[in-house]
């Protein structure tokens, strides 16, 4: 030790301690001098869209987003993708006249008609349908269950777009083939129940008109409402809108269920009975262009088949998938959709007419109802002119038509698409009603979404906001199917529907039909403070 320290550099104990002290002092001073500059405060290194970055406290023109209840059965939102562009609010407020049309503070509900237009407008896909694919795959995989599926009219002219095909490609057969490959036990067509809807809704209309004329409907149900004009009830977004904002006009709403719910109810009764299957073993899936259909299927009263089977917990329709979800499911299974060979729908509920397929377009329900309504009123098939009722076709917000039916007189109808447009008609009808004026229309078709179901909230996404260009392509295809491809163009000529009445339901609007195919509505005006202007 001693020799080593002698050889090393000399450093006295005192010098070492002094050095240590000085270094410590210098360190302390440096640290303290650093405190003079507090450094950058945390936060503020990100971004917000340009409209939010301006001096002053001016209100921003396009701002925020729509409120979405986490329990919403139709749509969900992923905050990680939300850029607060404000487009969902634009759609909700100006296209559908929902947001802004109720007072604040809110009550115990986040007002939403479940239409899903916000999902179509959302540029980042932050808002999307509630994904039920996993649930459907699970039931398909369960061999004890008999899984049936129905496809809405509008799906067959849109799903091809998801596989790179031109807008409006007609792919009905390929879609059926894909569904069979996915493992569904039976593939049915909502066109079948659209024709069924026309039989019910047309009969109801004739009954209402006859009741208004002072007579009694031939096959009218005891408690059937008689108010005119009759409103179509196929669009669940529209139905909920009416329940929220125009509950005083619910007596005008056709009591007919939508085609989706009619097929669901018939599948678990008539079809189950015919095939000898326990309805509890049947799982009913619907492929829809619509997010509101998910809500509709979950409505508590949509359990007619269950009530009949003594099991009210059983749903008429168990799962609803949007067109987009079906496309994802097909992609997930690696099915080359474009190369599929077309397949036909399965029997008992697979036949549909041209009158059913035009349900996909705004004005289509009206046109189909007029074709069969003419038959119901006169006993004869309609003249050629009623097969191309151009007055109710197209993308105008409100359309009107008037036609003369022999032996009846003038039939006045209106069609509206997009609920902001619907308000024009509804306010007019409300005013007429309050003033005691006679109704100016007999029948009005309301569709929640602009263009009708073909541009529904569950359809393949296009441009943002959705363009009329794609709507027109899809519209063209719908009317092409009706005019050129459909074997029949009249709902009352649907053989399978006629068989259903003959074998099971009896007659349109009869007791059995009322138990399975008609429904009731809920006054939802207590869940909000409605306003007429945003």
């Amino acid at each position: 030790m001693k020799t080593k320290s002698k050889n090393g550099p000399s450093c006295s104990r005192r010098f070492f301690l002094k050095g240590l002290g000085a270094a410590g002092m210098a360190g302390a001073l440096t640290t303290l001098s650093g405190c003079k500059d507090a450094g950058k405060p945390s936060g503020g290194e990100g971004w917000t869209p340009q409209q939010y970055n301006a001096p002053g406290s001016w209100p921003v023109q396009v701002r925020g987003r729509v409120p979405i209840d986490p329990h919403n059965p139709s749509i969900v939102r992923d905050d990680r993708k939300c850029i607060l562009c404000g487009q969902c609010t634009e759609a909700c407020k100006h296209v559908q006249s929902v947001e802004g049309f109720y007072g604040l503070p809110i009550k115990n509900d986040i007002t939403c008609i479940n239409c899903g237009q916000c999902a179509l407008w959302c540029p980042t896909g932050a808002i999307s349908e509630r994904d039920d694919i996993a649930k459907v795959l699970r039931v398909i995989g369960d061999t004890r269950l008999h899984v049936i599926v129905q496809t809405a009219p509008a799906t067959r002219i849109a799903i091809g777009e998801e596989f790179g095909m031109p807008a409006g490609s007609i792919v009905e057969g390929k879609m059926v083939a894909a569904l069979k490959l996915l493992g569904f036990d039976r593939v049915f067509d909502t066109n079948f129940s659209a024709d069924l809807t026309i039989m019910e809704e047309g009969t109801e209309l004739v009954n209402r008109i006859r009741a208004a004329a002072g007579g009694h409907g031939e096959s009218g149900h005891g408690h059937a409402p008689t108010a005119l004009p009759q409103f179509s009830s196929c669009s669940p977004g529209w139905v909920k809108f009416c329940e929220y904002f125009y509950p005083d006009l619910l007596e005008n709403m056709s009591t007919c269920k939508s085609p989706q719910q009619m097929l669901g109810a018939v599948a678990k009764t008539y079809y189950a009975k015919k095939k000898g299957i326990d309805p509890r073993q049947i799982v009913s899936v619907a492929i829809m262009p619509c997010t509101a259909k998910k809500f509709e299927a979950s409505r508590s009263e949509m359990n007619s088949a269950g009530v009949m089977a003594g099991d009210p917990g059983m749903r008429d329709v168990d799962f609803v998938l949007t067109t987009r979800e079906l496309a994802r499911m097909i992609k997930g299974k690696g099915i080359d959709f474009v190369k599929l060979d077309p397949q036909p729908y399965d029997s008992l509920m697979g036949e549909g007419t041209g009158a059913a397929v035009i349900f996909a377009a705004s004005g289509g329900v009206m046109e189909a109802a007029i074709r069969s309504g003419y038959f119901l009123l006169t006993g004869e098939n309609p003249p050629e002119s009623l097969y191309n009722l151009s007055a109710v076709r197209g993308l105008q917000g409100v359309k009107e038509a008037s036609l003369t039916v022999p032996g009846f007189g003038e039939l006045r109808v209106a069609v509206s698409q997009g609920l902001a447009n619907a308000r024009q008609l509804l306010d007019q009808i409300r005013a007429d009603k309050q003033a005691g004026r006679s109704p100016r229309y007999h029948f009005i078709e309301f569709m929640a979404c602009p263009g009708g179901c073909l541009s529904g909230g569950g359809q393949p996404k296009t441009s943002v906001p959705p363009s009329d260009w794609v709507r027109k392509e899809r519209l063209h295809s719908i009317y092409t199917i009706d005019a050129k491809l459909a074997k029949k163009r009249l709902s009352h000529e649907n053989k399978e529907v006629a068989d259903l009445y003959a074998d099971y339901l009896g007659k349109p609007n009869g007791d059995m039909a009322h138990r399975l195919l008609h429904t009731t509505y809920t006054d939802r005006s207590g869940q909000l403070t409605a306003k007429n202007k945003a």
Binding site: C35, A38, P41, S42, G43, E45, N53, P67, L84, L104
Partner: protein
Amino acid sequence: MSKGVLVDMTKCFGCGACTVACKLWNEKKYDEVNKPTVGEAAQLVDINWTVVSKHDVTDGNGDAAWRFAKKQCLHCVDPACASSCLVGALRRTPEGPVVYHPDLCVGCRYCMVACPFNIPKYEWDKSFPKVSKCQMCFTRVVAGEQPACIAVCPNQVMQFGDRDALVREAHRRIADNGQLYVNHVFGETEVGGTAWLYLSDQPFDRLGFKTSVPQESLPAYTWQILSKLPAILLGWTAILSGIYFINKRRNAAAEGKQDTTGGPQA
């Protein structure tokens, strides 16, 4: 002029745009599963500087209703966190925001104990954690812009401006619409006043607000004692020193006596 925000909770429908604006502007992570920003389970945590909490209440007609409360740091006029901070990492700015400077923070977390509203959070799952809380978009406020959460609100629930004017505005609204609002502006006097002021049609405790806080500023409260500390310390030192010297002298005198009487020590 000190800035403030007036929040009218009757206008909020719970879209949560403000929480997204906060995350975008401050680059905070999203964890809607474990740390939701909107709803019943929404809580201010390290990554959530602002949340919108949902509350089931009864409205003026006696009907069940939902109310949403936007929560974030209230930015006290006399902040206890800043007063408790040993190194000045938390400071109230003349513009109003109480801002946190992470470069100065030593991680003692006194601010978390001091805050009467339990606002500052700690980044517990980071290796080098920092304190985390709303900065009231300090850099935006300095640039003359409103905080991000306020800019994006679709219902203009929040109004940004000079605090004094907002206090008057709040009382004007209560006077104009007394049947709607409860007669209280939360934040006007709580802990001596906060930059964020709230109007509600519900008692504030039902919306998760801490109403039991004192009405005077907390630093002022502690100052009543702390200001006397130097005098107490000096006085106590003087007394103890005096006793020491007296004892020393007495001992020395006693020892001197002993020395004279006793024999020489070893």
